[in-house]
């Protein structure tokens, strides 16, 4: 037969079409859904800081309260990074000559702040208020993890929109009494029953909104 029919190699076309038409788009969807998610890209971000400040030592071993340094957390949207003056409250007395503190002393002398590297970044179009959360039963540990065990702080939560919504849709799991807000070793899941957490929800009048304008103002 001289006429051109369907050469044997063209049998490969069908698998190729199925692969490119179905499997590759499917792969692309999963790649974007998981590969591009902050869970993959952001969690574990642990930049080197200009001063080797150990949260494990200060918040863990020494048991300092978070609010000693991050003073505005209960009052404002931001949990402020402390001024050098706050460090020097102790460090004029404690290890005043330590070489690890050179940058802090320099800042204290010049009046220029220590340039810490920011870890937890929210995009500009997302509004977040610390005070609204910590005053109504969301502990530091819920989002930031066991800071009191971190030698160098890293990002524990994805801070993705989906992650925010997980809690906004189901806040009971993360509620604790205000007295335990900064207690990083206290776990509401084991310390409180589901009913007690539910009671907290009613007590704090928690009815988290899922409207776009709640966070995108």
């Amino acid at each position: 037969m001289s006429r051109f029919l369907f050469p044997k190699w063209s049998n490969l076309l069908l698998p190729t079409i199925i692969l490119s038409g179905a499997i590759i788009p499917l792969y692309a969807v999963f790649f974007v859904a998981y590969g591009f998610s902050p869970k993959t890209l952001e969690v574990g971000y642990q930049p080197e800081q200009p001063v080797p400040f150990s949260h494990a030592l200060h918040a863990g071993e020494l048991g300092m309260d978070c609010r000693y340094c991050h003073t505005s957390v209960e009052k404002g949207a931001h949990a402020s990074v402390p001024a050098t003056q706050t460090c020097m409250n102790c460090h004029t007395q404690v290890r005043p000559q330590s070489p690890k503190l050179a940058k802090v002393r320099e800042s204290y002398d010049t009046g220029l702040p220590v340039e810490w590297t920011r870890i937890h970044k929210l995009p500009d179009f997302a509004y977040f208020d610390h005070s609204a959360h910590v005053n109504r039963g969301i502990g530091c540990v819920t989002c930031h993890g066991r800071i009191d065990t971190m030698e160098v702080v890293y990002q524990k939560s994805p801070l993705s929109m989906g992650w925010c919504l997980d809690c906004h849709r189901n806040p009971e799991q993360n509620l604790r009494p205000v007295s335990e807000i900064t207690n990083l070793s206290w776990d509401q899941q084991t310390e409180l029953s589901a009913d007690e957490r539910k009671a907290l929800k009613d007590k704090f009048h928690i009815n988290p909104s899922e409207d776009c304008s709640t966070c995108h103002r």
Binding site: P7, S10, A33, F36, P38, P158, D166
Partner: protein, 487 residues
């Protein structure tokens, strides 16, 4: 297969629009053998050079296509502010064009699916390029929702794709149903079109002289050899696809109409919309088929296959659907009065006598008055007249969508928020450019793919009647496709 020659209709017959009692009017003129059909259709694809007019048309189409490209690029780089949209009128040319093109697409499926299931044999002459037209029209339609979202790079948000935001399209919104309706429609139409083309592609493959043509047609012909088993499976597949796409003819434009009908805007919030939109879609689709068929049959010498009877039949469909559309227009006014709702009343009086009165009356003259001329057989069978009238219908149907969308938005409940929409050059360029995309694809199709479903046309010729009892009296005993197309 022996050739029957006692057909009373043979000889130089050109008018097959007359119905003689006891005879079926021939659907193929001046051809006695299958070979003649094959030669006539394949000549278009096999000629070394296309007709001169083809090159002129193709150059013009490419020119318009580049206008579309420029307008879209400018839109993407600048933002939707380059269109004339304003606060109450947030949809205008973009969605007008979208609905217009989706509507055009409806004739293809109606011809290929519904007329097939009803055994309307005249569909075979026109179904191939009507389906091609459908696919190209849906491509044009699909462009508009994609670019009107503003941030084009987020157009994939139209689809429910899992994402870190845990955000999904609003499943209660008809805009999402639209995404599914139109993409389903496109997929099924494409499959239907391609499946029907396989035997004809094999014919082109067997006749091809060049290596490239052999390879290209050969691959797409899927190894078709015209064996009994091939035909059997082909017929099953074709029937199944016809059954699958039949509901789509009704569903797609119904869903498009929900975009408006489920809102609360007077002028949009109407229960008549789904059937009214479907009738309008078929109306405009058939008009577009006539607009394309008239020059195509002249240019490529297909007058014996797309006969006057085919055009006559299509004009009858235009007449019927045109009457439905006219009925819908008057019923909208009746309900506006009968409802006693002042906003509804205002919306319709404003439509006819408000700031866009001219658009409304263009619509009424083109869509209600024009098709009434098709009551006259002289007009139905006059090539120049039907060409002009079909263009009027196309214009009218574009204005119908413009009127529905823009007049309702521009003057809503609150007089303080009223405004006027004026198109910018980008609006107009995008609208005109879409025709460039459409005609570029259509002209490429004419040149490189079989424009007529050869295998199907052969099955409605008198000589394929196995009883052979005088081909003129052939009653078309389910003898479809029972022949090897390649001889």
């Amino acid at each position: 297969m022996t050739t029957l020659s006692q057909d009373s209709n043979l000889g130089r017959v050109t008018d097959n629009t007359v119905d003689r009692p006891g005879e079926r009017a021939p659907l193929v003129l001046n051809m006695n053998t299958f070979g003649e059909v094959t030669a006539t259709v394949c000549r278009v694809n096999e000629a070394d050079k296309a007709p001169f007019a083809w090159y002129v048309a193709f150059a013009a189409a490419l020119g318009l296509l580049s206008v579309l490209g420029l307008c879209i690029t400018y839109l993407i780089f600048t933002g939707v502010g380059v269109w004339g949209l304003n606060n109450p009128v947030m949809w205008a040319y973009d969605i007008t064009n979208f609905v217009f093109w989706v509507g055009i697409g409806h004739a293809g499926t109606l011809i290929s699916a519904i007329l097939f299931l009803f055994r309307q044999k005249w569909r075979t002459g026109i179904n191939r390029f009507a389906e091609a037209m459908t696919i190209f029209a849906v491509i044009c339609a699909g462009t508009f929702p994609g670019i009107h979202v503003g941030r084009v790079w987020f157009a994939y948000w139209l689809f429910p794709i899992p994402n870190q935001m845990e955000m999904w399209p609003q499943f209660r919104s008809p805009l999402l149903w639209d995404v599914f309706a139109v993409s389903t429609y496109f997929t099924v139409s494409l499959l239907f079109w391609y499946t029907g083309m396989v035997p004809d592609l094999a014919t082109l493959r067997d006749r091809a002289k060049g290596k490239v043509q052999q390879l290209a047609y050969g691959l797409f012909a899927l190894g078709w050899r015209g064996s009994n088993r091939h035909w059997h499976r082909y017929e099953r597949a074709y029937l199944l696809l016809a059954a699958l796409s039949t509901p789509l003819v009704l569903s797609v434009h119904s869903v498009v109409s929900f975009d408006f009908a489920t809102s609360q805007l007077p002028g949009w919030h109407t229960t008549i919309f789904p059937p009214y939109f479907v009738a309008g879609a078929i109306f405009s689709g058939f008009a577009m088929v006539v607009t394309l068929a008239v020059p195509a049959r002249e240019l490529f010498g297909l007058k014996d296959l797309i006969t006057l009877r085919h055009l006559d039949n299509m004009n009858k469909v235009i007449l019927v659907t045109g009457c439905m559309v006219g009925y819908a227009y008057s019923m909208e006014f009746f309900i506006a009065w009968y409802s006693g709702a002042m906003y509804e009343k205002f919306a319709f009086i404003n439509r006819a006598f408000g700031q866009y009165w001219w658009a409304y009356w263009i619509m009424v003259s083109c869509n209600v008055i024009t098709p009434q001329l098709f009551w006259f057989k002289k007009i139905r069978t006059s090539i120049p007249l039907m060409f002009v009238l079909s263009i009027f219908v196309n214009v009218g149907m574009w204005f119908e969508r413009f009127v529905i969308i823009v007049t309702s938005l521009a003057n809503d409940f609150l007089p303080s928020s009223w405004d006027v929409f004026t198109p910018t050059w980008v609006d107009i360029g995008t609208m005109v450019g879409a025709f460039g995309l459409f005609f570029t694809l259509f002209l490429l199709f004419c040149r490189y793919l079989p424009m007529i479903a050869m295998a199907e046309v052969k099955a409605v010729m008198p000589i394929s009647d196995p009883h052979g009892a005088g081909a003129g009296k052939s009653h078309g005993h389910a003898a479809q496709h029972g022949h090897d197309a390649h001889h």
